[in-house]
Symmetry: D2
Subunit: 258 residues, 4 copies
């Protein structure tokens, strides 16, 4: 066997009568002492959040849980119908849609906000430059625009308000607002700051790095999808979706004519 340096973990260890998570006793210090939101932050970021940080994370998780019959929700329902004995597979199927097209924009927005704050030229100049760059390239600017929530995404002001009431430093939120003005100027019209843009800003305010942001969407979407599994158990829709899709998508070949 090759010798190689052994990695370590700071997350968890246990004996026959105790379980430690990041050096806190699961039984003595965590169960009954902290709520799920605090525990999530503690598990992922390695420190217990303040009350304000917890409220902000709550607002993000509540916002992202559910948005109706999304592609993920439909996928979960179809798989729940096909393999009802393995609920974890149905939820996993839907979670696989938490990718580039929807939540990927959250990471993109977070990187832009960080770029704006790190720029030597100052926030306003950096925001204007970036807005113009996206405008010129014709690329979709992460965190801006929404195909449905127009002219404004109603979640955005609420998320920012909750964060400010909870007491944050505010520089990422401020950068987002400056960018919003720069975007309106560059595009010559109002483009909404969408919920993923606002979430990027408030998660940065509570020290969540962009590299793991998607993970928070995965967690709360898991809860949303379990809700769809439950409704599918009680009031199934998947068979209807299946048959409707079969009827809707016509075969373009010559062999069969419906």
């Amino acid at each position: 066997m090759t010798e190689r340096a052994k990695p370590t973990t700071a997350i968890c260890d246990y004996t026959a009568d105790a379980i430690y998570i990041r050096d806190m006793s699961l039984v003595d210090d965590l169960i009954g002492q902290v709520n799920f939101t605090q525990m999530i932050y503690f598990q992922i970021l390695g420190r217990m959040p303040s009350d304000g940080e917890t409220r902000i994370l709550d607002s993000v998780l509540v916002t992202l849980m559910e948005h109706g019959m999304t592609p993920s929700a439909i996928a979960t329902r179809l798989i729940a119908m096909s393999a009802p004995e393995a609920m974890q597979g149905a939820v996993a199927a839907g979670l696989l849609g938490v990718g580039g097209q929807f939540v990927g924009t959250m990471e993109g927005a977070a990187r832009i906000l960080s770029e704006i704050l790190d720029a030597d030229e100052g926030v306003e100049s950096a925001a204007a430059r970036i807005a113009q760059r996206y405008r010129d390239d014709g690329d979709r600017l992460p965190g801006f625009g929404h195909n449905l929530h127009r002219p404004d995404d109603p979640r955005t002001p609420k998320l920012l308000q909750v964060a400010e009431a909870a007491g944050v430093d505010g520089r990422y939120i401020s950068a987002l607002r400056v960018l919003g003005s720069a975007v309106d100027a560059a595009y010559g019209k109002h483009i909404t700051i969408n919920a993923t843009g606002a979430i990027a800003a408030v998660l940065l305010e509570i020290d969540v790095p962009w590299e793991i942001m998607r993970g928070f969407a995965v967690i709360t979407r898991a809860a949303g999808l379990v809700g769809h599994v439950r409704e599918e158990q009680l009031n199934p829709a998947a068979r209807h979706i299946w048959l409707t899709t079969h009827d809707e998508i016509e075969y373009s070949g010559a062999a069969l004519k419906k």
Copy 2:
């Protein structure tokens, strides 16, 4: 197109300027008003939990989040290494292990507790009968025994204590305790009530039906696995696991000798 009755959903709908989840306004009634645990219960079970129910659900979610280098955590880390650009795949891979061998026992325990309470013969008699049946058949009794936490699982008394302090009816917890005594009698030795047994009882106390219990394990394990993805980003272990496994599992064929 075939005519067929259209199913409905009670979960979510939206317009351009409002999102409703089970008839509450996401922006006006939920974000900043309820925490993640309340929102999870509301999404899945369709009513807002009481403060006591919320504390109980918190205790369950905190308990199940993390248990070290489990098969699920290892799978998540290996997939995070292989496809770091798709974190949702890494979490999904680990969640696929939330199946029969580990959390499946929670559902089994919940069904047994319900059977005990529904029996005409009374709780004590039903518990004794069921304990003896498992003893005679040599089947593993769901919710009892643990390969590590012996003689007692430390999570169990804490979970029951949190639930009782939160104010529950208590009949499922009581049935679990009666069953525990019956098990000790039937097997002629003490067998611990494990955490999944306790969780089954306290989730039944807060009206979570056994059919959807696994979903709560999926949600909190998702958070645990995001923690492992984050540690893998900062302090990777997956490559070591891979190479160690390659060294450990020897090829039994004749073609190569290491």
Copy 3:
């Protein structure tokens, strides 16, 4: 570290200049020498199949690859739209539907055929007994009936014919036919032997145990789903499925009226 017996693997090992799979050299003995179907059988069952066995396995894999806009295909398309950068996730999402409701029946049919052949009472008597048991219990008999392909599943006679032409012992096929007659007698009407029933029989003929049968469906469905990913790249349908589903499944709450 605890000492424990190390497991072994008979599948694969490699050095810097050779890769061995089950003691055959990948480069010298397999690439360019065997086709994919032979390699699949060799990988899973540990011996190279005969030409007849290969033809039979081909017929099964060809049969199961594709059946239109199935729940799995729809799930794959929706996830491909949501996370186009991670095709493996889209295929995995669809594969998660290869569960109890559809391919699970193949395993059930295989177990019944084995039970019939293992019975002391003789094939005809066992078949009649089993058919009657399902009839009395009102359970769905695995391998029989089809919601669309009525009165007969056209794939069944073709699969049996290919297997017989390829030269099999024939006892599982014979047991299936005897069971088919017993089913018609027990139910008092003709019930088709469906494709999963026929596949169960012909896979048993080529020594595929029921415990791993589902794996062959997973492999060929993976290919089918890659076809749907490709069509989604060229001629997308997922967005239409999404929006149609949103329109079709009406919100039952009071808050919003469309």
Copy 4:
């Protein structure tokens, strides 16, 4: 309901007594007539491959099926142990590792070969320019180098030889060889063309576009992973991997000392 243009599918349709796949009858034209490899090509690319194309695709699928205790194989085994009732989940878990780090390089290599052939400057000049660009940027060049198979990947010459014997146009293979020489020159040492580089070239030769290449890896890895599920059923290793990992990865916290 919003009116929107209905998409179509060219893949499959069926009636009660016939199933058509791309206008060929499944029962009359495909089962028993074409093998699995032909069917895969037909399903994904929409035309039946020639005998030579089939042999080349066979060589690729045989090459990529299995490479021992890879991260994907380990993930599949761990999930198979955790949820043995849902084999599709175990295979899906492993497939989620068919991402950027391993097979992603196949797509990268295919894009480079296409760039070389499309360049106005000629193949040799373009190859030299690209090799130098990767050298200067310090990026890993897709399709080149291998951490184990040194100085040369034994699969590469075999794959190219099978393709040339099967009768291809040869321009992608030729571009790959030119690039190989340019790489050796730019880096001042020999760097092997690895199997993913060779596979990129031979798949381009048979008209597989880079956008769907990963799909072929997914299909054959599914078969490889079913082999690991089968071995896990007969000769389990997952529990050993789990316990060894737990022992190997030491807890870095202060709370517990092993």
